[in-house]
Each structure stands twice: as C-alpha cells, then as structure tokens.
C-alpha cells in the first residue's frame, strides 16, 4: 500500500448535477466529517482555498458540477490517502473522463432542448451523448460555462462566435418553438449555411416627416458584405437583378420573409406584395416598437437588421433631473438661514446633451410620443420615463422649492449611491437620479463645511487669559463659522481636549466683535456636578465675562430673574432647572444656548429635552465627549436641538437609519449617516496626530478574579430564581425581572454582602476576590506614593470599600456619590488635587460612584483608575478614566478593570470589546436589548461557566 489511510467515498449525484459526498474511514469504520473530507479531497486546491469554502452540511459535502468535475479530472487531493469509490462515484468518474475526452476532441454541441428551456446547455455528440445521463451533461455545461467566464482566450473566442451568430443570444421563449435542430445549428453557425446571401431589413427615418418611417429589405452578399441588392414591393423574384448564383435560392428568401412575419405579425404587407415583401411604411409608434423589441427578435432568428446609427446612443441615454439654483439668489455672507429655509430652484431634464426646462419637458410629455426629434436630436420618451419624472417630482416636493436641508441631503448623498442601493427598494429603482446644481456661493459654503481646515481662523481673543492650542482655536473658529451660517454645531472632541476652553473662546470672540453693543446673554446648561468646574474655568480663562449662575434654592424668579441677568454675558444652569424654570429661561431669546454633556437630552421625549428644545436662541451648540454614546436616537435628539428637522422626524429617522443599522447591521448606512452629520459635528481624538498632545501613556489591564463558592451559589440561585419566574411573566414584568437580575448578578460579583444587605458585616476579604485583589493593588500603589480612583456603580460597594480600605490603614478615603453635597464634593476634589497639603489631610484613594463621578471632574493627581464593576457602555468607562487621563497628567496612567470570570461580567466585557468598535462607527446598543432575548439566549448570557469556579470554596 502506498497510502497511510484508506477512506471510502460514497457519492450521490443530484438532478441538478451537484454531487453530494460522504466519507468513511476504513480503519475505524466511522464517518469522516465533511470539513475533513473537504480538506483531504481539495487539500491542494487553490480555487476553493484548500477546501475551506466548499458547500457542506453537517453530514455531507456538496460539490457543484464544476467542483465535482475537477475532483475527478484534475484532483488536488492528498495523494497519501487511498480513496475507495462506491458505484455511484465510479460512474461519476467515468462520466467526468468521458466529458474530458469529448472536450479535448471537440465532440460536443449546444443542446437545443436546453436552450429552449432557457439554459445555455451542452451535450456530447453521438453515442457518447446518449450514454451520458442528463445530470452529467450538466457537468459539461458547467465546465464550458466556467471556461467561457474565466478563461480569457475561450471567453473572447466565445463572444466572437456570439457576435457572428446573434442567434446564440436567443434563449428560452425567444427561440421559435417549432425550430428544428438542423435549422438552429445552422443559424448559430455550427452547420454550414450555403445560401450565398443574407436577408436584411433596414429601418430609415423619413426625410420629410418626423412621423413616418421606412422599412426596406436587402439581400447582402455573404462574401462581400458591401454588395447589397434592394428588394422593393413591386419586384418579383424573377425580375430582380440578382447574380445568377442566387436565383436558385428563391425558397430560402421566401422563407426568410415568412419568418419575419411570423415573428412580428404586424409587419405583414397589406397590399398584394405579400410573400415577397413586408410593410414598407411604419408610424412613429410602430417604428419605436420595431427598434426596441422587434429588431432584436429578428436578429436572434438570423435576419440581419440595420438600425439608424443614432439609435444605440438614444437607447442608452440616461435622463437626469437637475435642480438648478436660481442665480438671482446670491446672498451676502451674513445672511443666516436655518436648515428648513426654502431655496428657489428650477427643474431641468437632461437627456444626453439636451437640457430641457420644466415647461419644455412638460409640453413634451403631453404630446405622448415615444420617439421625438428635438433640435435635430432624437430622444425616446418611454412610458417608464414619464412615470419616473412624475414620481421624482412628487417625491422632491415638486413645486420648484427645496429646503436647505433637501439641498444638503442631495448634495451630501449623491444619487449615485441611491442607485447602488436601489435593490433595497423596488420603487426606488424607478426614480430618476437627481442632481443639484448649486450657485457658487452656496457651493463654497458647503465645501467649507466639509473641510475644517478651509474655515477662516478667528484670532485668539485678547481677553482670553492663556494660550490656546492650535486645534482649540480651530474648534472655536469652526463654532463661529457655523454660527455665521446660522447652523447648530456639535463639538464632540475627546475628553480632556478642552471643549470648555473652545466654548469660552467662542463667547469671548462674540463679545469682542459685538464691540460695545449689548448682545443678548448666552445660556449654558450643564449637569449640576460640573457647574463649579465651569465657574472655575471661566474665572481663570475669561475673567472679563459676566457669568451668572442660576442655581440653588435662592435662585431668582420672574422679573427678578430678568433683571439679575441684565449684565450677564453667560448664564449657567442645570438640566433639571432647564425644565423647572422653563418660564424664566424662555422669557428671552438667548444669543447662544450651549448644552454641556449634551447626552443628557438623549431621550427626546423627556420633559427636560422638550423644554430645552422650546427655549429660544439665535444659535445652538452642543458639547459632548461621546456624541452618540448609546443610541442613534440620541444623535437624532441632539441634532433636533441643534438643527431642527435636519435628520427628519423621529419616525423617519428611525425608519431610514436606526432600524436598518441596529437591526440588520448595514455598514453602508452608517457611512451615509456619517456624511449627513459630518458638517455639523467636529470630533477629534487624543490619538489624532493633528492634535499633537503630549499625554503620557495609558495602560489598560484587565484584572480577572473568580467567584468564591458562596458567590457562585448565590449567583446560581439568582439565575434559577429568574428563570422560574420568567415563564409566567408578562412582557413588562419580564423586562423588570431581567434588569433586576442583571443588577443582582453584578452585585454578587462585587461582594455577597451587597445582596444580603449586611451593612456592617465583619470585613472578610475571603468572601470576594475583587476586594482581595483591590487591596493588593492598592498596597503597591500607595507604597509608591501614588494615588488612585476607584469607580463602582453600587453605593453599598463604595461604602464597603471605603470601610475596608480605611481599616487597612489607607485613610482618609474619599467617597463621592450622587448624594454628596456640592460643597462636600468641591472640598474633596480640591483636597485630592492639592499637593501642598500634608498627606493625612489629602486622600490617596478616591472612590466614586460611576454615574456621579463620571463626568466633568479633573482628578489628575491620581494615575491609577479601578473599575470595580463593568458598565455596558465602554464610553462611560473611558469617560471615567479620563478624569485622570487628561491634560495635566504627568505620569503614565494605569487602568484596572475587574472582571469576574465565568460570569455576566466576562460576557459584558466581551460585548464591550465588540461595542468599542461599534461606537467608533457611530452605532451603539442600550441595555434594553437584553430584555428582548429569548430564554435560551438569556441562559447563554447569564449562565455561570463552571470551569472558572474557585476550587477553594
């Protein structure tokens, strides 16, 4: 034996020529997995990437006819395996060899029966053909198809043959059903045709009348094609001036004429010339029918047709609709407009080089002619074209007016792409491509919007205390530029790049330009936790600005409010108050409303968001570090604030973007959305080389811990509990239950005491490895004299850690959470950040609840960050981390993320890794999708992977 293994191959050849294969190992007499089989039989096959991409099920390998043919005739299998073929396989191999031989010797023909059925099939000639079963003939067809489509030489030869014998193009019903094989083979050139001439038709436009067309018959010499003999309806065969050799082919000629009439019955001559001639005069309508369909059928049946030279061009011309901006609308640079501003346009229809005004093409449509000559050019006005134009006009509001939004949409999303996606929607295929032709002025603006470096830079305001980095000045200039166009702007730079400073610069620039004219004040809405921060920064960088804080119990109402802000350049308030004090805040039109941490209005339905949208302002700005942190709807909400109507109604937006992107993962739609929002969104990342920041490195580490036996038992019973209750629960209850369970599981991973509500339980490190690990790491950090932040989502966990760390001698340990008063918070932050204080008055460790401490704080004294539990959203975590990793940080930043193995946390982590990528692509998912999972999927998500249980317990 010259093989190391022997396998049996069992094959089954299907009707359609596919070969289904299974294999058995002779030695073990056990089935071989189809993928293994593929990797044996196609081990060296480059085409299928060594068997990787063959079709297979769990049971069998499914080879296409071509693959099967190659398997037998040009095997790329492992040569040290002995393949035992069963009877079927043996037969298949013989078929394959027969085909190969026939191919080599040219013993094959197109198969008329197959062509009539609409398949370009082939068969072996003679006896061999009779022996080969029908499905094996499919192999032959597949092989030929393969060669004509992949092999250049074969392919060009084949298309040459097709051009020579257009009858080959006819397939299926296009072939006259009664045509016999002999005739057919003759028409496709496989059998010689001894007739010395060809019968040809010619259609010619009348020189006098655009409504009349002539149809002529010629006989063309096969050897000398330029020699033509015209036959008129008056002629009789015998009186024709024909070469003598042609005379005897009278029957053939009559047959050809008969053929024309049988293919196109209305061509039958009405006068006495029937038999020798056909109709000579056609109406415009008939000429169009002849040109579009009749001629093709004739050609496919072997009758040559000469068409007007211009026809091909007319046929292919693709009309476009153009919206041309009326030139009278040149604007001065200081004209403001919002996105719903209506702009004046007129429609033009472009066909080839022709350009028709709306009036012209409407009158054209009314003539109901399919072929028309305008300015000496023929155009075809098909019924499809008419309905397309009407439809498109209806879609684009038709009336000659477009909003600035429509213009931007049309300009930013060229219709090319609409065609690419035409297959999404059959209707869309019917609509015409629409182009927009902007006037120069608008063109210039829009191109500036698309390229930030082309925007004119403002100067650093003289009253600004400090130095702006160049990208910051660019950011402020951008805000200012959008202001000059009356457009809302979203500044979405990474945390720590100085969005605050850029907005302050914007304010100062405005104030300086206004000279001494009083401008209306601007309004800044931000989370309570960062009001202090804003105050500090404004004091530091722009002491000349009058800032008024509208906050706290003693805040002014009604008239008092208006008079208090009289002198103010900027009023600061919180999101909560923006709704509570809507009356006061909406009593004037602000110069600019700026939302800091704009993700706060992510839910467009909340009263807060609605109130904010109702506030009046000349200009709007949103600042956020994570513009679309969770959902696309959030993006919509922010944009609805910035540029109302720009992304359409919430429903429209949801239908055209949210559902397809989140549901079907259509990346191409993401890029469309990106193009739409790009002019209004400026996002720069720390890693962006253009930023040229000098931030030290950030090192992220994952700290994996395991569950203790106690935790594992709790974990299991919690899941069990949930599944028990889940079966009978209503949809609402189900959602609630799942979310509660999620929280409980995450708490168990932190420490079992969180579940038992043991407020003052003895501190036993052995009950949670997280605590144990935390202490170890803190010891290292404190020994080096460095500081850390610890983030958790759970208040109790925060208290627990505070207690544990203080009792281990690391006190004082600060803890900032949602309930911490503003004063207390400021104190803690200040003390933590102040290096001049003695160690016992500062803190080395700062515990923060993730939500309370995630934003707006500057805690660069720490260079270690712990995430004790995981949040679904990577953006929230990186925001928290950015408290430390921002400008001002001198040292390397270490981030430790705790993950309990085998639990939901590990799975969250897996998802976050995935989502990190998604979020960069402007897509995200919330937590709610979990509640929609099936019981099985839930099980998969929650279930404890036992391999990670702590053996000690």
């Amino acid at each position: 034996m010259s093989a190391v293994v022997q396998i049996h191959l069992i094959g089954q050849m299907l009707e359609d020529g596919h070969l289904h294969l299974t294999g058995r190992s002779s030695e073990r007499d056990s089935p071989i997995r189809p993928d293994e089989l593929a990797s044996m039989l196609f081990a060296w096959d480059e085409e299928s990437f060594y068997g990787s991409f063959l079709e297979m099920t769990d049971e069998e390998l499914r080879l296409t006819p071509m693959e099967a043919f190659r398997l037998f005739t040009a095997p790329q299998s492992l040569s040290h395996i002995e393949y035992m073929l069963d009877e079927q396989m043996e037969a298949c191999r013989n078929h394959a060899f027969a085909i190969k031989q026939a191919l080599a010797s040219g013993q094959f023909l197109p198969d008329l029966d197959a062509w009539k059925k609409g398949v370009a099939g082939w068969r072996l000639t003679g006896e061999k053909g009779d022996l080969l079963p029908a499905n094996a003939h499919l192999w032959l067809t597949a092989v030929l198809e393969h060669f004509t489509s992949t092999h250049f030489g074969v392919s060009s030869a084949w298309s040459h043959v097709q051009r020579e014998f257009p009858a080959l193009y006819a397939i299926g019903e296009e072939i006259p059903p009664l045509l016999d094989e002999q005739d057919w083979l003759q028409s496709i050139g496989l059998l010689p045709d001894s007739t010395p001439f060809r019968t040809c038709l010619q259609i010619v436009e009348s020189t006098y009348d655009t409504q009349e067309w002539h149809l002529k018959i010629f006989l063309q010499d096969r050897q000398q094609p330029e020699q033509l003999v015209e036959i008129t309806s008056q002629d009789s065969w015998d009186s024709l001036p024909l070469p003598s050799a042609w005379r005897s082919y009278k029957d053939r000629y009559y047959r050809d004429v008969q053929k024309c009439v049988s293919l196109i019955p209305w061509l039958a001559a009405e006068d006495g010339s029937a038999g020798i001639h056909i109709r000579t005069l056609l109406s415009n309508e008939e000429a169009w029918r002849f040109l579009t369909e009749g001629s093709l059928r004739l050609v496919q049946s072997g009758i040559h047709v000469f068409l007007p030279a211009w026809w091909e061009q007319v046929r292919k011309a693709k009309p476009t609709l153009k919206a041309v901006m009326k030139s009278s609308h040149t604007r001065s640079p200081h004209t403001y407009f919002d996105v719903l501003h209506i702009m004046d346009f007129e429609w033009k229809l472009a066909i080839g080089t022709l350009e028709l005004s709306e009036k012209e093409f409407r009158s054209l449509l009314s003539q109901q002619q399919k072929l028309m000559q305008i300015n000496g050019q023929w155009i075809q006005v098909t019924p499809e074209l008419v309905s397309q134009i009407q439809k498109t006009l209806k879609q684009t509001a038709g009336s000659g007016h477009l909003s600035f939004r429509d213009v931007l949409h049309m300009y930013l999303l060229p219709s090319m792409e609409q065609e690419e996606h035409a297959d999404l929607d059959q209707d869309e295929e019917m609509s015409l491509s629409v182009e927009v032709e902007l006037d120069q002025h608008l063109q210039h603006f829009i191109s500036q919007l698309q390229e930030i470096t082309s925007i004119p830079l403002i100067e650093q305001p003289a009253s600004f205390q400090g130095t702006l980095r160049s990208y910051q000045l660019q950011g402020s200039s951008w805000l200012w530029f959008l202001r000059s166009l009356g457009l809302g702007a979203c500044l979405a730079d990474d945390m720590g790049l100085g969005k605050t400073i850029q907005f302050i610069t914007y304010l100062l620039h405005g104030k300086e330009r206004a000279n001494r004219h009083r401008q209306a004040p601007s309004l800044l809405i931000c989370p309570t936790s960062v009001i202090g921060n804003w105050q500090k920064e404004l004091e530091r960088f722009a002491p000349s600005l009058h800032v008024y804080i509208h906050y706290g119990n003693t805040r002014k109402h009604g008239h008092e409010f208006l008079s208090s802000i009289q002198e103010a350049d900027l009023v600061i308030t919180s999101y909560a108050l923006s709704h509570l004090d809507e009356e006061e805040l909406s009593s004037l039109t602000w110069d600019t409303i700026c939302l800091d941490e704009a993700q706060h209005i992510k839910n467009a339905h909340t009263k807060q968001a609605q109130s904010i949208r109702r506030l009046k302002a000349a200009y709007r700005i949103a600042l956020t570090g994570t513009p679309i942190e969770n959902r696309l709807m959030e993006l919509w909400s922010i944009f609805e604030f910035l540029n109302p109507g720009y992304l359409g109604s919430q429903h429209e937006f949801s239908r055209s973007f949210v559902e397809p992107i989140e549901g079907e993962q259509k990346p191409e739609l993401i890029s469309r959305l990106q193009r739409l929002i790009q002019p209004f969104l400026l996002r720069r990342e720390k890693t962006d080389p253009a930023i040229q920041l000098d931030l030290p490195e950030k090192i992220e580490e994952k700290e994996y811990v395991r569950l203790t036996a106690e935790q594992a038992a709790l974990y299991e019973s919690t899941i069990q509990d949930m599944f028990d209750k889940l079966s009978g629960a209503s949809a609402m209850a189900r959602r609630g239950l799942i979310l509660t369970t999620l929280t409980r599981l995450k708490q168990i991973c932190d420490h079992p005491a969180l579940i038992h509500r043991e407020r003052n339980a003895a501190i036993d490190l052995s009950r949670s490895q997280k605590l144990e690990r935390l202490l170890e790491l803190v010891e290292e950090i404190r020994e080096k004299g460095e500081r850390c932040l610890i983030f958790t989502q759970y208040l109790q966990m925060g208290y627990l850690m505070q207690r544990v760390l203080e009792s281990a001698g690391y006190g004082p340990v600060f803890f900032l959470h949602g309930g911490t008063s503003k004063d207390m918070r400021d104190q803690m932050i200040q003390r933590f950040q102040d290096p001049s204080l003695p160690e016992q008055e500062r803190a080395g460790i700062f515990i923060l609840s993730l939500r309370a401490g995630g934003i707006g704080l500057n805690l660069t004294e720490a260079n270690h960050v712990f995430h004790i539990d995981r949040w679904w959203n990577p953006a929230v975590e990186s925001q928290a981390t950015d408290r430390v990793y921002r400008i001002g940080q001198q040292r390397n930043v270490n981030v430790y993320k705790f993950i309990t193995l085998g639990t939901i946390e590990e799975r969250i982590d897996e998802m976050m890794e995935r989502k990190h990528l998604l979020s960069k692509k402007i897509v995200g998912t919330g937590e709610n999708w979990i509640t929609e999972l099936s019981a099985n999927e839930l099980h998969e998500l929650f279930m404890l992977r036992h391999e990670w249980l702590d053996g000690k317990g």
Binding site: M1, S2, A3, V4, V5, D35, S39, M40, A43, W44, E46, F49, Y50, S52, F53, L78, S79, H80, I81, P667, E910, E913, R914, L917
Partner: protein, 531 residues
C-alpha cells in the same frame, strides 16, 4: 519513593529497552494516559519488578521488568507491549527526567542501520551448564544415554512444570526449569551436551504447547501475549543453539533421530508454530541431498493423498515451502505463505535472513515485491529488520535511489522514515501531503515553516489555512485568537507572492462563512483583518 527505590541509571536503561520494543504511537497513547493521571498504586517489588494499576476501559494490572523489559506484562487484551505499560513507564521516568522529551525521541523515525549481525541469531552460544542439584526421582543420564533416554528424563523432569507455570511467571519458570535440566549434561563432551540442549528446548516448547492447550489459549486470550513472547524467546534460543552446533561432530544416527522428532512432536496448536520449528531444524540439520529429496518426496506424496482437510493441506504446503526455497523456487514459497496469513510470517523472515546471509541480493527483489502483504503482521522490530535488509539490498545492487519508492510502498508502517526522507530530500509538497494525510498536528509541521518559505512559499498557504479551519472549529476565543495570528501570516504570504487579490477574496469568504460566529468576527476586527 520511586526516587529512593530506583536509580536513574536503571530507569534510563529501561528507557533504552522500551525504545527498542515499543512503537511511537503506542507510547503516545501511553503518554496521554500518564498525563491524565491514570496510573495508580505504583510499587517497586524485589527483583527489579514494578507493578501498577492503570485505568483504561477497566483497571489493568501492569508488571514491568526493569532488567528484562520483554518479560513485562499487562492484563489488557492488546497482543503486544501496550499503552498501559507505556503509561507506567512514563510515570517511573518522570521521576528522573522529562517524559515529554522521551516521547519526542520515541516519535523520531527509528531506522535500523544494517549490519550483518542482524541476520544472525541474537543469543549467546551455549556455555557450560552450571551445576544444579538434581533430585534423584527424575533419574539420571550419562554421556552414553540415548535420545530416547533423554526424552524419558525430560518427561520426568517436567512433570510438575504445568503447576509451577500456573503459580508463577510462565517464562521464568520454563526458563529456570530448562536451565536446570541442562545440568544433567554438565560433564558431557561439548557437542553432545549441545545437542541435548536442543532437545531440551524442543521438549520445553512441547510442554508449553500442552500447557497452552490445557489453558485453551487462543490468539485473543489475555494471556496469549505472554505465551507468544515465551515461545518467541525459546525459538530464538533454539535457532541460536542450532546455529552454533558443530554438526560434523554429531553422529548421523543422532541427526536422523533429531530430524524425525519434527514429525512426531508437531501438533495442531495455536501456541507454538511447529512448522516454523521444523523449518529451523531442517535448515540447519537437513543438508544431505538424498535425505532432503526423500523428505520432500514424502511431503509431496502426502499432499497428493485424497481426503485431506484444508488445515492438513495447508500445513503440508507450508512445510513444503522449505524445499521450494532450497530449490530456488521462491515464487512458489511466497505464494504458499501469502495464503497462510500470519502462520507464515516467521518463515518469511527466517528465510529472508538466511538468503541475505548468503548475499543473494538479486534473489531478494521478488521477496520485497511481496513485502507489503507481510508488513501488516509484523511488529515494529520485525518491520525494521525487513526494512534494513531491503535498504541494504538496494545499496548492494546500486539502486539506492529506489528507496523512497520502497518506503512509499510500505506505508503506513514506514511513515516516520518516509516523511523524514521526503523532508531531507526537499520534496516538501509530498512531505506535507503525507503529514496532512496522517493528521500530524500543525505545530510539528510549523517547525519547518522557515524551510517551506525558503523553498516554496506557496506551500505555507495550505498549511496555515488548514490550521485556521481547525482553530475556528474549536469555537473558543483562544482558538480564534490563534487563528487570527495565522491569518496575519496568510496575509503576508499572499503579499509576498504578490497576490493581494487572492487574500482579499480569501478573507472575505472566510468572514462570510463564519459570519454567525460573533466572537470570531470580533477577533477579526480586533486583528484589523476585516471590518
């Protein structure tokens, strides 16, 4: 414990014996058992014997003889040295050295270098028997005693042997008994004592045969292994004794008598191969042309008799094959043996050796044509012997280049040497092909990736792609991560080959095929291979 009771030298020496006797694949399985912790209750017994219990399909008792590994045994049904022994050995070995290294060594192709000595009996020439006290009840022999007397004496001598063999270890008992019997001829002239030892061996073989039948030993019996090995060692002993016998000093009557025994003692046994015994005796003792012709004629007459059972006919034919060889009709002998399955293997190898001793190389080509049929029945040592002779034959006839074809013909047995040869000869595609066919793990092949890259970088692609497919099938993140590493190699391969578009097509199809494996997709993105 083992560390104190054994010393390294002993264990290394055991290792050497194991390398000679046990095959790579069996040792591999043994290693798996060992690494899964399936060896229990390992104990060192007096006399260099180690016992253990190994958990297989059931618990098997293993006994390893440190000094003489072939005496080792296991209660499992495997007919040769088994994985349980291997597992026990690894357990012992691991105390002194890294068992993984040992396994790797065992997996190396082991080719026996040819030397003339492998063609000859491996035993030592018989020495003067030591004095043993003989109980008077068995009677005594003198120099003048006849062969009949000898047999009478031996029958008495082995009266209780069955009981002893039952109680103790088969080979040890039989061997001791045999050696002690030799002291009866202690003071005789050398050649006569020598002849006596041959008869003693034959007699002990007969006793063993009887005992085997009494125990109803068939090839599938658990104890069959021990019987087979005991028989083989006595056969070896027999050939050694015959080889060193000075025939010219033996009377022709005694020779005749000895030869006649052949026909007397043979039984229809599944324990001792009496045809083989007869062949050995004939080869060494039957060289008088007249006598030879007479025996051959007698056999042919018997074969012509009507009413022979197929077994009788087969046995007669087998016996006759000796004369076919003697007459140079190897074709006939080989076709007789081919029909006889494993009974003929001993004879095949025996005559192969003797013809090689006579350096009749051309004659051997015919033998090697038939070799594949016999190879299946050979154990590792026998195969290596045959292969060594064949290779030497090719060398001696100037056909060394054909060796690769021969190796290929001996697959799958010759796999390690074959693969090694291909590698050495730079036939890398064939080399990969045979490894792929054999299912060799990727890591072993990847050791040579540098070589592949230098010689034929195209070959790296199927190697990587195969492993990638396997890794993806593991459905684990670590698997995917490994796959991604390899994908990067595939990418750079295609780049080096200037086939960027092939890579694009590949990665696109791969991502498409596994679009449902989210974790895998994630790793692909993380590796920046596909978005």
């Amino acid at each position: 414990m083992l560390q104190k009771e054994l010393n390294q030298e002993q264990v290394m020496q055991l290792g050497e014996q194991i390398l000679r006797s046990m095959e790579g694949p069996v040792l591999e399985r043994g290693y798996e058992y060992f690494s899964q912790g399936l060896v229990f209750n390992i104990q060192v017994k007096p006399g260099g014997i180690i016992t253990s219990a190994v958990q297989g399909t059931q618990v098997y008792q293993v006994e390893i003889h440190m000094e003489s590994f072939p005496d080792s045994s296991c209660t499992c049904p495997y007919p040769s040295y088994c994985k349980h022994m291997g597992a026990t050995f690894f357990q012992i070995y691991s105390v002194f050295a890294n068992p993984k290294h040992f396994l790797q060594e065992a997996q190396q192709p082991r080719t026996e270098a040819f030397s003339a000595s492998i063609l000859y009996p491996q035993g030592k020439p018989p020495a003067q028997a030591r004095y043993q006290h003989l109980p008077s009840s068995v009677g005594s022999l003198t120099e003048q005693s006849t062969i009949e007397d000898w047999w009478q004496f031996l029958r008495n001598w082995t009266r209780n042997l069955s009981t002893d063999m039952e109680k103790h270890r088969l080979y040890t008992e039989l061997r001791n008994n045999y050696e002690r019997a030799l002291s009866a001829s202690r003071l005789w002239p050398k050649d006569r004592a020598h002849l006596f030892s041959i008869h003693a061996i034959l007699h002990h073989l007969q006793k063993l045969d009887e005992y085997g039948q009494q125990m109803k030993i068939v090839p599938t019996s658990p104890a069959s292994q021990e019987f087979t090995r005991t028989v083989n060692r006595f056969m070896e002993e027999l050939e050694t004794a015959l080889f060193y016998l000075e025939k010219s000093n033996i009377s022709s009557a005694d020779l005749d008598h000895t030869l006649e025994l052949c026909t007397e003692i043979g039984s229809e046994s599944s324990v001792v191969n009496w045809v083989a015994v007869t062949h050995v005796l004939w080869w060494y003792l039957l060289d008088d042309p007249e006598k030879e012709a007479a025996v051959a004629k007698d056999l042919l007459e018997k074969l012509a008799e009507a009413g022979l059972s197929p077994q009788q006919k087969a046995k007669l034919e087998l016996l006759y094959s000796h004369f076919a060889i003697r007459a140079g009709k190897d074709e006939l002998a080989l076709s007789i043996w081919e029909q006889q399955d494993h009974h003929a293997l001993f004879s095949f190898l025996f005559y192969l050796k003797v013809i090689a001793r006579q350096e009749e190389w051309q004659r051997l080509f015919l033998w090697f044509d038939r070799l594949p049929l016999f190879i299946k029945q050979m154990d590792g040592q026998e195969y290596r012997l045959a292969a060594a002779i064949w290779r030497h034959t090719l060398d001696m006839t100037g056909r060394s280049a054909d060796w690769i074809t021969c190796l290929k013909g001996m697959l799958p047995r010759s796999f390690p040497e074959y693969a090694a040869y291909l590698l050495e000869d730079n036939q890398l595609k064939q080399w990969l092909d045979v490894h792929f066919s054999m299912g060799t793990p990727y890591l072993e092949l990847a050791e040579h990736s540098k070589r592949l890259e230098e010689t034929d970088p195209h070959l790296l692609l199927p190697l990587y792609v195969r492993e990638i497919n396997r890794l993806i099938l593991s459905r684990s993140r670590t698997g995917y991560q490994e796959a991604v590493k390899l994908l990067k190699k595939v990418r750079s391969c295609y780049q080096k080959l200037d086939q960027q578009r092939r890579w694009d097509a590949y990665i696109e199809q791969l991502a498409g095929k596994h679009r449902r494996l989210r974790t895998f997709q994630e790793e692909l993105r993380r590796g920046n291979l596909f978005s």
